[in-house]
Each structure stands twice: as C-alpha cells, then as structure tokens.
C-alpha cells in the first residue's frame, strides 16, 4: 500500500529486551479506516517525553471523512507508553486506537479537502 505510512519504535535495549513479553515495534494507522494509500502516517511525530511517554502521529494525507472520501483532510493518532510489562501488550508503546480528524474534535473547524491536518505537531510534555 503506497505511502500508507509506518511508525517504528526503537528501544535502547533492543533486541535484548530484558523482559519476557516482546514489545511492539511497528505501528500502522489505527483509524479512520485503517492504513490506506497516501495516508502518510508518521509524517509528523511528537512525544510528551518523560517516563511512559505518549506519542502523537500525524497522517496529513488521510482521506476518510466519516463514510466519504475527501482528499488530504488529515488525521492524528496516539500511541501510549507503558511501563507495565505484565500487561497484554507488554511495556513500551501501544496503540489505544484513539484518533481524530478535525470533524471528530468538534473544536470549531471541520475537515475539508487539502487541510493536511496533522502536518505539524508538538506536545506540551508531561509534568
């Protein structure tokens, strides 16, 4: 699938995890519509930093607006960090399946063709 995008997680202790459960190292876009051609998931990234940091991932080429296809409205997704290595997914980054377009945010702007929402990202970081 051309230009759907992928995010790789590289840990400084990889490949010697030191934990029983291997962590997920590759992430594709959870939504909307999953990975599609031209989404460009991973075009922009930002992290909160700190322990168990969260990461936001921009997909400025996202075309799925509810049930319709509208070119390049853009979307963002989140990956959460976890220090719980006993959990199902192991520690490290995991995908909670949370994503947004400007339509789902309800913040006073809507998704239109060519918006490229998610083309640039930054995070405040954690306390």
């Amino acid at each position: 699938m051309i230009d759907a995008g992928l995010v790789n997680a590289v840990y400084d202790d990889w490949p010697n995890f030191g934990h029983d459960v291997p962590r997920k190292l590759r992430f594709t876009q959870p939504g909307p519509g999953g990975p599609e051609r031209g989404d460009r998931f991973g075009f922009a990234l930002t992290s909160t930093g700190g322990s168990a940091a969260a990461v936001a991932v921009g997909s400025p080429g996202e075309d799925i607006n509810a049930a319709r296809v509208v070119a390049d409205i853009g979307s963002i997704s989140w990956l959460w960090g976890s220090t719980d290595f006993q959990s199902e997914g192991g520690g490290g980054l995991w995908s909670p399946g949370i994503w947004h377009t400007q339509n789902t945010l309800g913040g006073g702007s809507s998704s239109e063709a060519g918006d490229h929402f998610g083309g640039a990202l930054t995070s405040s970081g954690l306390h």
Binding site: H100, G107, L121, S123, S124
Partner: protein
C-alpha cells in the same frame, strides 16, 4: 521583559515546496529541572497538543492554515482552533500563508504556562512574498489565547536578517533554553 533570542532556519528552495516539519521540544536544561514542565498551555497538569492544518481554508481564503490545540485527549476532547483571523493572533489570514506549517512549544516568558509558536512560512512581509513569519501565542489559565501575543518576521527588531521573497522564515522551529537564563528561546 521577554527575551527572545532567535535562531531561525531559512529554507531556500527552487521549485520545491518544503514539507511541514514536526518539531519536539528539547530536553529541559538543568536550570529548568525543578520547575513545572515547559509546555502546559493552561497549567492543568495534563499534556496538551498542538496540531497544524496548514492547508486549512479560512472561510474563502485558501490554504491560510489553522492550528488545533488540544487540552485533553481522553476521556473526551477539549480543543480550540486558531487562525490568523483569530482575535488573539496577529496578522491576517491570506491565501497560501500556511499558518501551522510548523509548531513548537516553549515557556518564553517564564510564567509557568506553555507558549505556542506557529510558523507561517508563506506569509508575505511587505513586498516580500513567501518571506515567512512566526506567531507566538502565550499560555494562560484559559489556554493559549493569552495576552501579549507576538508576531515576528525577519524585518522585526531582534531578528538578525531581512525579509526577502521565498525566505520561508518559520518553515522549521525548535525551542530550548539556549542562553541558560531559565526561560525558553526559539
């Protein structure tokens, strides 16, 4: 007094549109380690996010650009949208400005609220088209539409260059405490 030391990257290209660039804040400098984190726009202790939509049309103004600020992702969403036509943002939305082509966070005035820098790489400055500019939105208990928002370009005092066509000032941004005074620079 705000001290803004400016380190800017001028992107010169011929015929190729530079891609919007993701920017993350650098690690806190030693002076900042005992302080609240740099970038919480409204000081509520929950991580905030700023997301550029540089191709956003502002009413009929094509590709003027917008930035969404999220104060909470889950549960529920609390967000605001800013364009150059927002009351708290200086300058005016013009076609192709691409406000939000880059975003970065810092705490420039040391008030404990995170401040948002938004690149406007295709902003015209005087007669210089696509010279680029930067909007600075200061954080407050109400989020980033705080007081004293700033508008910088290469013809402004303190920015050590002049605005020329296609400079695209603001196409890439980074923040940090470059001079060790305990407040952030960009």
């Amino acid at each position: 007094m705000r001290r803004l030391a400016i380190v800017f990257g001028v992107v010169l290209v011929t015929g190729v549109c530079p891609a919007p660039v993701a920017v993350s804040e650098s690690s806190p400098a030693p002076l900042l380690q005992d302080q609240p984190l740099q970038g919480d726009f409204n000081g509520d202790g929950v991580a905030d996010w700023a997301i550029g939509a540089p191709g956003e049309d502002v009413r009929t103004v094509r590709d003027a650009g917008a930035v969404n600020v999220l104060y909470q992702v889950f549960p529920g969403v609390a967000s605001q949208v800013f364009t150059q036509n927002s009351r708290s943002v200086q300058s005016v939305a013009e076609p192709g400005d691409r406000f939000g082509g880059a975003v970065a966070v810092g705490n420039f005035n040391g008030d404990g609220f995170g401040d948002l820098v938004v690149g406007v790489p295709f902003e015209s400055v005087g007669a210089a088209e696509r010279a680029g500019a930067v909007n600075v939105l200061y954080g407050s208990p109400q989020g980033v539409p705080g007081y004293g928002n700033q508008y910088l370009h290469q013809d402004r005092f303190g920015v050590g260059s002049s605005a020329e066509s296609d400079d695209q000032f603001g196409a890439a941004l980074a923040t940090g405490d470059f001079n060790g005074d305990g407040t952030f620079s960009m």
